[in-house]
Each structure stands twice: as C-alpha cells, then as structure tokens.
Symmetry: C2
Subunit: 640 residues, 2 copies
Amino acid sequence: MAKPKTKKCVIRFEPSGLKSEVNSGTTLLDAAHKVGIYVSSICGGDGYCGKCKVVVDDGDFKSRPTTLLTPEEINENIVLACQTKILSDMTVTVPKWHSLDVGQILIDSDASRFGKLTGKVQTDTFNLNPLVQKLYLEMSPPSVSDHTADHERLYLAIREQVDAPIIQTGFRVLQKLSHLLKDSDYKVTVTIGRRGGTTEVIEIQAGNQCRKNYAVAIDLGTTTVVAHLIDLTTAETIDTEATYNSQINFGEDYIRRIIYGEENNAFDELQNRIVHDVNDLIVTLASRQKTDLQNIIACVCAGNTAMIHFLLNLDSTRIRREPYVASAGFVPPIRAAEAGIQINKRGLLYCLPGVAAYVGSDIVAGVLATRLYTKEGISLLVDIGTNGEVVLGNKDWIVCASSSAGPAFEGSGVRHGMRAGAGAIEKLKVLPDGTIDYKTIGDSHPIGICGSGLLDTLAELLTHNIIDRTGKFNTDLGQKLSEGEDGKQYQLVPPTDDHQEIVITQADIDNLIRSKAGVFASIRVLMHSTQTKTEDIDTVFLAGGFGNFLDTKQAVTIGMLPDVPIEKIQFVGNTAIAGAKTVLLSQQALETAEQIAHNMTYMDLMSHQNYMEEFIRASFLPHTDLSLFPSVDIKLKSKI
Amino acid sequence: MAKPKTKKCVIRFEPSGLKSEVNSGTTLLDAAHKVGIYVSSICGGDGYCGKCKVVVDDGDFKSRPTTLLTPEEINENIVLACQTKILSDMTVTVPKWHSLDVGQILIDSDASRFGKLTGKVQTDTFNLNPLVQKLYLEMSPPSVSDHTADHERLYLAIREQVDAPIIQTGFRVLQKLSHLLKDSDYKVTVTIGRRGGTTEVIEIQAGNQCRKNYAVAIDLGTTTVVAHLIDLTTAETIDTEATYNSQINFGEDYIRRIIYGEENNAFDELQNRIVHDVNDLIVTLASRQKTDLQNIIACVCAGNTAMIHFLLNLDSTRIRREPYVASAGFVPPIRAAEAGIQINKRGLLYCLPGVAAYVGSDIVAGVLATRLYTKEGISLLVDIGTNGEVVLGNKDWIVCASSSAGPAFEGSGVRHGMRAGAGAIEKLKVLPDGTIDYKTIGDSHPIGICGSGLLDTLAELLTHNIIDRTGKFNTDLGQKLSEGEDGKQYQLVPPTDDHQEIVITQADIDNLIRSKAGVFASIRVLMHSTQTKTEDIDTVFLAGGFGNFLDTKQAVTIGMLPDVPIEKIQFVGNTAIAGAKTVLLSQQALETAEQIAHNMTYMDLMSHQNYMEEFIRASFLPHTDLSLFPSVDIKLKSKI
C-alpha cells in the first residue's frame, strides 16, 4: 500500500506575519509553537479546554468535530488549533487575547514591586554570609622557612576569613592553582560556594575581583518566572525582571505539562523551555547592568516541585500519580551549567528544599520570608497561584497542604477568564443602581476578567443578590440574564463597537466556587487537625502573583479566607523570590529552610477523612455555617 | 634564504626490528622514544650522563663531540643517542643492557612478594570501611502513607547501613534515580565514596551488584610502578602487577624529569606516560581476573610528591627550586577519569597526603604501614629508592627529612652500575684468597652491578683492605688495579668471551660514599634535633625497592645505617603500597594518614646548620667517629 504523501506546507500567522513550515498533517497548534507563537491551551492539546481558538483565513484543513465551538464560530472559520490538521499552505489569524506580550506592562510593574518589597534581607534574622562568595586573599609567598604547599596555603588563607572546616577543590582549579599564585604574587580572589557540609573552591582569579560579585534569585512560577539580580557584596537587589513561563504552550498547569511530557516524550523540551526563560532573564539583567555573565556566580531557585523537576529534568511523572512522590525534595547544589543555566561556567545552582510533591520550595521560601516559623502566635499562609497552597503554624509546629484549587482564579475554566494582562478587568463593582463599574489593566477596552476581577465579581454578585449562597442566579434579573450554551449567563459588560460582550456563566461560578472551596477546606482541615480556632490566628499572610491584586475583604466575603479582622490579613507579595534571596545571602538561611522543609508536616487532603465534608460545606457562599463568617453574615443580612 | 629541506628518515632499531619514521635532524634518542624503545638516559638528553650509547650499523648522522666516548667506542660506531642527529635512513643497534624487559622476572617476584607481605590489612588497627564501597539497599516503595521523595528515601536507606551525616549526589545520578528505583522495585546497589567530609553517591545500579566490588592500590615509584587489585568485600589482594615507570626516558630521577618537562613543555607527555603505565597495570589485572573495568570503583595512589604531581599534571616546577614547594600536599579526591585513569567512569582517585616537596605520600604510607606512629619506642624508617627519605619518631612526635642521596645505589653515576635486571650482580663477596665470588640475577652472564651488589662491593672492599676508610684504593693491589679514564679502577670480574670486564672506579666509590653519607647525615640530624641516641632506637624499618635486596649488615658496615643490633633492623619491603591498601580499606586510615602528614615535622637539611658537618663526617667508611660504629670497629680491627 502506498504511504500517503507528506508535503511541506507554509502557515502564515496573522497579525505577526510569522511563517511556520511544517509537514502536512501537523496540527495548527504545533505549527504555531514551532515558531514561538503563543496560543492559549490549558489541556495541552487534548481538545477539551476549548482555549486554542484561531481563525482560518485561507487554506485547506481537516478539523475533528467538537462541541466547544458554536455554529456561529464555525461559520466564521474559527477552529481549535489543536484539533485542526494542516492540508495545504494556510493563513491563520491568532486572536490577540492569546497574546502574551500584552502582559508586559503588568510584569514590569510586578517586578519593580517585588524589588521594592524585599530589597534588602533583614539582617536581624540572618547574618550576611552568601552561599557563594568571593574572598580576596593576600598570602605570603613560600619561603625557606615556610614550605607549605600552595593548595594548603590557600586553605589556610580561606580559613582566616571564613569558617570552613571542610574545603574541596575541583581538579581543574587545582591544576591551574600554582601558576596563578605565582603569576599574581599570591594575591588572588577565590570564589567559594557551600555544597552540603563542605566549602568548594569554585574559581580562583588573579588580583582583587571582589567587586564583580553577583548572583540571581529566581521564582520559577508555573505561569510567571521572576529573576532578581543581587550584588553579593552589598546584599542589594540591583535589578529585577520577569517573563511568562514559556512552557505554558504545553499546558497551563503543571499536571497538564507532565502529561504532555509523558505522551510526547518531551521532558527535554520542557526543560529547554524553562532554562531558556531563565537564561533570557539573566542575560537581560546582566546586559542592562553591564556585567559579564561570568561575574554571576550563583543562582538560587524556588518553585513548586514540578517546576524544579522540569528545570533539572528529574522524573516528574509520579507527581501526578498515587502515591504522588517527587524524585527529589532536597535537591543538592549542582553546577548551574549542568542544567544549562548561563552564569559563570563553574557557578552553582541551588534549589530551595520542598516538602512534598504538592508543597514545593516556593512554599518553604514563603515560610522563611514571612518568618512564620519564628512566631509565638499562629499564622496562616495562603499562596494562591496556579495552585493553592496553605500553611498553618508557629515556632513550634507547621502543617501544610495543597488544595486542588485549580486555576479558575487565573482565568482557566471561565468563559471570559484571562490572565492579568492589558484589557483584563481587575476590579469590578456593582453600583446601587445595578450597573457595573469596572477597571481594566492598562485602561484598555475590556477583553476578559483576570483573577482579582473574578473574585470581585463573585463577591459583588453575592452581596447584591444576583446569585444566592449556592451560587445560582436569582430568577428576577431581567435581560442581563440569558440562556447560553453553558446554561445561564449574566452580562457584566454589554458589547460595543470596540469590544465584545463579557459575561459570567453558571459554569464559571461553579468553577470559581470549587476553587475557593478547595482553599478554604484545606485551611479548615489544617485548623481542625491542630485544634486551631479562627480567633487563634494572629496573622494571615496572603502570597502569590494572584495575591498582589486580591481584595482581602472580598476573599473573606466569598469564604476563601477565614473571617479574621481585616487588619490581620497581610499582603506579602512574592514570598518565593523573597525566600530565595534570603537563602542566597545566608548559609544559615539555607540551613533554616532545610529545617523548615524537614519539620513541616504535609497533609494529603485526598486521603483525609474530613476533607470532602469540609469541601462540601465550603462550596457555598461563604459557607454552610454562617457562624464561621459573622462579618459576612452581617453584610448579607444588611443587604436583604 | 632557502630553508634547509627536512626529509623523512626511517630508523630501524636492532635487535627488535622496530622502525621509527622521523624528520631528518631528529635525535636518535627521540626516534627511539617515539616507538617506545627504552634507551637509558639519566640526564634527560643533555649529553652529560653518557648512558644512552647505541651502535650505528648503517646510515648518515651528525654527532656533537663528547668526552664521554672512548676512541675505541668511536671506532666501533658507538654514539650518544641524545647527541646524534639523523641525516638519512639508519640502522641502529640498542645494546641489551638498556633493555627494560630483562627485569621482568624480578618485577614479577617483587609483585608477588608484595602481595604476600601485605595480603590483608591488620583489622586490629583499622576497621574494614573502604573509601569507596557498594551497598545493597532494599527500600519500601512510596505509599499513600509514605510520600518521601526518592532522593531522600535513598539517603535514609544509606544511613541505615553507614554513618554518613552529609551525603551528596551528582546531577547525572540524580536524573536517573527515579527511573532506576521504579524499574528495580526499589532494590538497588549504590556505590558511595568518601570525599572530604561528605559521602558521595557515585553510582546506582539495579539489583544486587555488591560482589563486583574492586579497587586498585598503586605505588607510583620513580623507577617502578606497582599495582594491587583488591576485593573490597573480602579486603583480599587478589592479584598484583608491576612495570617500569616509562617516564624514565625523560630522566632517571624526577628532578631531571621536571627539567625535561620545563625545557620541552612536556608535562602533558609526562602525565600521559605515567597514566598509560597505570592503565596498563589496571587493564592487565582486570583481564587476568576477568573483571570489567567498570567494577573497579576506586584507585588509591602513594608516591613521592613529584610523581603525584606528574600523574595529575599539577605544577611541579617549584619542587626543584628554592624554597622547594609543592602545588599540593593534600590532594583532594577526584574522579579517576579526570586524570585519564581507566576504572569505572565515575570511580574516585585518592592520593595519600604528602608532607613536603621531598617527603611524599609514599613516606606517609610507610609511617602508616609500619605503625611507627603508634609505638612507645622510637623507630627509624629509611626508604631508599631513587631518593633516600628518613623518618624518626614514635607515637608522640615524628620528624622526617629527605637526603640528596642520589641514585648511585640504583646504578646511576657508576661505570658498571645498572638496574636490578637479569645479568646484574646482586651479591658479591671477596673470598679469603682475594678472588671475588658473585651472583647475578637470573644467573645470567654478568653485565653490571645493581644496588645491593654495589653495597656489598663497598663493604667487602673496605673489610678486605682494598679501599681504606676514605674510600681510596690501597696501592698494593697488583694487576687488578689499573688506571682508567676516570682515574683508578679495580677489576671485580675479568672479561671472558661471553662478557666484558666489570670494574669499580674511584669515581664510582666516591659517588656511593656520597649517597650513603647523605642518608646517614640525615639520620644524624634527625637524631640530634630530637636528642635521640643510637641505643634509644627500638626498630629500624628498611623500606623501598632497594631495601628488598639489601644486606642489612653491610648497610651498617659502610655506615649507611646506625650501628644497632642486627635484630632491630626489619625489612618491610614496599610500604608505599602497603599504606595505600590500608587507606583504601579504611576511611579511618585515611584520616590517620592525614593526621600523620599533618603532624610530621619536615626538616630542610640544606638549611640545617649541622647537616654539612654531619655529611662530611659520614663521608668516611663507616664514619670519622668509630665510636658510633663499635661493631664495625671490631670487624675492621680483626681484619688488620
């Protein structure tokens, strides 16, 4: 039988004009990825998230049938990119709401906020004693009365400056040591790094090179990757940069990415993407600050367990399967170049320790940065990013859990949900007359709703009786309530010539309630198992990219956070990067982070007897038990 | 000006028939080295040792004038290979006394002796706890009630078997860890190695691989390289092998080799030679014992400081220049593959610590092997190889020095001196009637005298009044004493049809006396500075390749060793390899060796005020002060 002929097809993507040459039979999604065009896809190409809609302007194709497109969309030649095979040269338009670069303004302001927030590590907690540091050594040359070998002479000089009972030196450094000492008249700069219990001599240079002494701290987020450039001599953050995680093409949450990796044998590709993102950030920072990459001698990363595994290409496949185990929680320091990270070729890469498959080093960083582990009183740390992790504890004990919150508050599974980019509704308010006021990022025309807007929406719909405590639409809402393809939907923004209508559907509301219920049920399980009452909680730390835009009152209103006095809730921003910087600047902080990770008790909610019950009780607004939310109870009663 | 034409010339070396193709203008010595033919050369090609004599049978050449050839030799077309430039194709005969392979019998018996001598390390001193070892681990797989990550699970399992507070794992091992654990049902063999204060997970394999568990101990001698293959499970030496150090072409002592390396930028070549020798030994042992090189997981070396530097290509140039410093005394463990040694590609290479540029790790190995450092009474360790190192001490203090003994007792600087190979006179006795009885190695026709024969010669000539206590020939010796080119010479063996005459010259005797005076003066300086009297010495350990054939009485007679009762003198053979094995088999032994090296006080004899005086006093037979040698005094008086 003759093999079907494969031919080369050129796909032109509008509005960028980028062309992708692929074999016929390739999907449009793959063709787009090939030339680096971002097409939103939550399901990783399985055809059931319906996010990857593009418009075919010209050319032949074959699409698999789907219920995720309306007849109108089909008429307008809209297809799911992942379900559409290319049969000829084509021209395809990628709607701009897919575009990542619209978020750039936000990312920049994010980055500068992070910079300010944690510009200097509190030296009252840890002494400045970086994981990797440069020392200038002036040694006496050997003499007739001092035959000490160069290698031992160097160690003696190092030990005069730092506490280093065990020192190791790599072979290449050892081989060049004597020549360098001779040529520099025994005046050298050594770069030393902490590896386990030992101090490694990483590099040796002639003369005093201590001023060129940088490192980067990285927050490896599922959605956003943030990098801070630190001057190790002054401990100051001298520049910051952020970018989207380009793995996003393979799934918006990490479980999807693991599945993609397994099904396509693509873990190398996943690693390449994140390493590329990190290198992009580092190169940008270095060039902006006019410093050579060779002067960046360490990189410290915090991230969830899956992201750390992707970065290092460790086996992540069992993170998503019972009994949910990581390949490594405590990753040993390695040479950054081994993972492909472009700093000094002998520079070290540290990953903060994680607790479990679903409570990663970003959460340990959060505990370190908030100093939760030092406090007499009980603190609650809630980190809502693509997942929702919850930590409860004090100086004596710490418990933690990860809720299967899902990315609803990041816009996934929500009809007009979107990431926090230009045109996203970030604030929303129902006015007394029933009209809706909103604010978009960049004051652009509204094109969707991002997380903080969704939280406002849910709270406002509840407090204005548009939905009831089960999340169902009331029936007397007039024309704004209509029947859509997903059941009932409520108009938030009417369509104009400039933008489409924006609605929230019953399905959207159900998804959002499931997410917040997951977070609150996790909090309840942790409180219950530690016999903590709401009034016992001294502080609620709200962290994460999401947290930066969250209206804390509204988070209580919908029953996501416990009903504590509002002044007890603190925004703490990106605690992952704050913790990574703390560790970078202090060996004691790394040891503390290891102790924290070691001592945190992970609770597997899925196997916990009370979790489902708590989840069901939290699947109401704010909760079945209003006595848990007295402030909301009053607010609701006053509205009736 | 036209450049002189260079042409290719083919040199055929007899009797091997090996051909070397070189450019015209190349020296015969280089042409021989190129095809691996050993031509004796002490001076490294500088043209003043006169050892590299070869016979030109055919072809054109140009030789620089030399006083080192007699008119008869010139007539017989004998040339110095290093001073002879090739002008055409040539045929050259290399006299068989150059040949290395004649020593093979001796080397084999040496090797087997070493094997027996130190077959098992005394477990009463150190527990069996090899530097590198394999552990078989059976772990419980992860479960719903045990989410421990694979990496941490592995560490817990290792710590159940061994004391390893700090464990490190290389990145490549970490990356394959989870897949391997899954595939092997969590039953694995880990290879762990000691690196400084940490335990490194070197390798991980599925199932139980503990039986394939070998290592090699190496004595890196200037002249001879010895390797023992050890079964790490039983601690038994299962095979031994030895070879000549093929660096010998670049100089017979290491100072010459350093000069050669500097002048010819040839340290890479010096390293290649010794690494090649070590690999040859390892491959021979592995193939004879039918074990895969991958099953050899560690290599432990002892050797003088220069040899360790050559092996690792560390800067050795300042070993020969004031103030005489090494690049490293305590060399950190490295991956053997980094130095080119062909064991398991992740296996470790350890070098025992040395004390100073002229007291290397072979001497520390000797102190460890003899247990000198544990004894109440004072011991003297004398290691006479290409150099002569001397150690004096007990459990409380140890002093050491290196005499510039020179290689006279290895045959260098002695007219008919030669290495211990077939045809070498190893025993010599002057009979009452004045005739000389001798024994050659392999009972071959005599072609020269090796070290133990030279020692006998010196002692016998003295006790038979052929030389006086200044080493000068008496005048009434008849025909056996004649005038040669180096002054007076005495016939030891008359010529026959089968072999040439063998003589000892006044210059030879002066050289030998200088050597023994160096050793004894060193001993005296150490004794003096520690206020040790001859009668305080409990034991004299005599070590080294030379030591194996030494007649201890004669060593006292000529005044090389102090006049202690003969039963106090112990042959200890090759203590370098014995110490290397001890360390290989016990981490505690390595720590002890480090303490020994650290605590040994090195005395620089050249800058010591008494050394020259002691040297002059020892430059008599046995010494100016006969009260130091009462047993010799009696012997000499009884002969008169």
